[in-house]
């Protein structure tokens, strides 16, 4: 099995990652083709483009895609580049368009991407240009699940439901199940000088908040600690001024928590505490978990999942009703986008509370996320040193102790406490994708093992 999961870059057996993958420009170019040129990528949520002509520009690798609501209610994903000389046909990030007119020569496309206008079509082209052959290029496949719009550049990619599989579906449903969800206006966008894989790895990382976000936790703004939890051993850790580190406790503050990890084909995964372990109150409410709809959509195990799913490669679905894209801009540059969701039916005060939480937890000014970027940036920089990059990255927490349960009640899962299984799984799948193998083999190679 190791033969399948191990690669030049990743050793699942030893729980080691070769640091070169975090800054090598050639590897980045391959990622653009082998991963971002093939995978289903999240574009936006349907609630962002309710009316015909509403559009939102989203990145697919280095391609810029216009997601447009059609008159028939459908959604199309069009490449933002004119069929004539390649100029962008739309320069706004979002809005409503009656059509897309290219500012270079005036070629005009309707919101379905059809070429409907060519100045001088008769007088200059003498009618021998066939507009029907020169519409805006369409992304190969577009589909959505519970309002989450995805697309892939690969015509041969499996349908979205197959791609998402049990784990991807559960991940999206963790937001969908909270009610009649819509995106709160305003997508936070900012840039971090790090490799995108550090930003992805981190979303599974329930080991870092207690330290990285210690100062935020100490402000007490992030909610109460569930009673009866046990604080983990500090293992001798000390702050820079030499005092033993004081973990504040709580699910993100150092308690030993019950955790569920789901692993699945194509590299999707979920990791984090159970709902009981995570607790509620403060900024976070979980009453929705006990609704009919939630139980139905999530199932007995799913409704207990309070961890963080990643839809491979780059969509983090946070159980705190936000979703984040980790957009690769270069080997050492990643753009972060935050989408924030709220149940349309919430009363104003509860809605306000959700917006408040969305604005103050994550994002560049969020109490939590302020600290994250620095770790990822420094971790990225240290991979360019000739000697430093020979030190493997370690993903060994509970390695070999994760028994994968397949009882039909959930996606393949590992129950236990905090681990690095999901990160390791993500990198294992990453090397399968980077092998350039076909879809069938990719699926086969990303079936979770019995034990991890």
């Amino acid at each position: 099995m190791a033969t399948d999961l191990d690669s030049t870059w990743v050793s699942v057996e030893r729980g080691e990652i070769d640091r070169r993958i975090f800054s090598d420009p050639d590897i980045f170019e391959q990622e653009m083709e082998l991963i971002f040129g093939r995978a289903w990528l999240f574009l936006c949520h349907e609630s962002q483009i309710p009316r015909p002509g509403d559009f939102f520009e989203a990145p697919m690798g280095r391609d810029n895609v216009l997601v447009v609501r059609q008159r028939d209610g459908g959604i199309k994903a069009l490449l933002n580049t004119c069929a004539h000389r390649g100029n962008a046909v739309c320069r706004a990030e979002e809005g409503n368009a009656r059509n897309f007119m290219c500012t270079y020569h005036g070629w005009t496309y309707d919101i379905a991407g059809n070429l409907i206008g060519v100045p001088g079509l008769e007088d200059l082209y003498g009618g021998d240009l066939d507009p029907s052959r020169h519409g805006l290029a369409q992304v190969a496949q577009v589909d959505s699940h519970e309002g989450f719009v995805f697309a892939t550049m690969d015509p041969s990619a499996p349908p979205l439901p197959d791609y998402l599989g049990e784990t991807g579906t559960l991940g999206l449903n963790l937001i969908a199940a909270q009610g009649d969800m819509e995106v709160i206006p305003g997508i936070q966008k900012f840039v971090i000088p790090c490799n995108w894989k550090f930003a992805v790895d981190n979303l599974f990382d329930w080991y870092h908040p207690q330290v990285t976000h210690l100062s935020a936790l100490q402000t007490g703004m992030l909610g109460a600690t569930p009673p009866g939890a046990r604080l983990m051993d500090s293992g001798g850790a000390q702050t820079p001024d030499g005092r033993e580190i004081q973990l504040p406790g709580g699910a993100v503050g150092g308690d030993v928590i019950d955790s569920i990890v789901c692993l699945d084909t194509y590299g999707h995964a979920i990791a984090g505490p159970t709902a009981e372990a995570f607790g509620a109150g403060g900024l976070f409410d979980d009453s929705w978990r006990r609704t009919e709809r939630a139980r139905e959509l999530l199932g007995p195990v799913g409704s207990r999942v309070a961890g963080h799913p990643n839809i491979f490669p780059t969509l983090w679905v946070s159980s705190t009703t936000q979703a984040s894209l980790r957009i690769p801009r270069g080997p050492m540059e990643t753009e972060i986008w935050w989408f924030s969701f709220v149940d349309r039916d919430l009363p104003p005060d509860q809605r306000a509370m959700r917006v408040f939480a969305a604005n103050h937890v994550f994002g560049p000014a969020g109490l939590l996320e302020q600290e994250d970027g620095e770790n990822w940036a420094q971790s990225t920089i240290q991979t360019i040193g000739h000697r430093s990059r020979q030190v493997p990255q370690l993903l060994r927490m509970n390695l070999g102790r994760g028994k994968v349960v397949r009882d039909g009640q959930s996606p393949p899962r590992i129950e236990g406490t905090t681990s690095e299984h999901a990160q390791l799984w993500t990198f294992a799948a990453w090397s399968a994708w980077m092998s350039g193998c076909g879809w069938d083999e990719l699926r086969r190679r990303t079936v979770p093992p019995e034990v991890l």
Partner: protein
Amino acid sequence: MTIAGTTRDDADLLARMLLDHQVARFYYDEAALLDEQRFGDWVQLFSDDTHYFMPLRRTVSRRQRDREFTRPGEMAFFDDTKGVLEARVAKLATGTAWAEDPPSRTRHVIANVRVVDDRGDELDAESNFILHRTRLKSEETTWVGSRQDTLRRAGGSFLIARRHVHLEQTVLLSQNLSNFF
């Protein structure tokens, strides 16, 4: 009275100038508190009912400029009460706010200070800023934008009863906003 060779207009101008200057000086002193990292003193310049708001900005077509900024109740970078501001300051004081240790070096350049409305107890002032931040060996960030404040007269000085900060950037070209504007 008149200043030798001056007119009533001059007196009005003088009064307006006094006010502009008083506000500008207030801003310069505020900037000094921030750049000296005296955050505890800084937060006391805000009224208890203050609203510190930095909306998101979007690149939109001229036709749809009304959608350029998000509004309160929507997403924002900052949407803070006095309490949240105090929490941010408290966070910096914990000694465990790693992103600010080593502390970033900031320099607030405050310009184009204009009192645009004076309602007696409160006045509205606008200003432009360049906030220059350096971190670690050679990380450099420059934020440019404007502030629309409501200042409340209090004891010969002012309290900031409302601050709306508009950044010029849409995609934020920096990894965090761990500083104040």
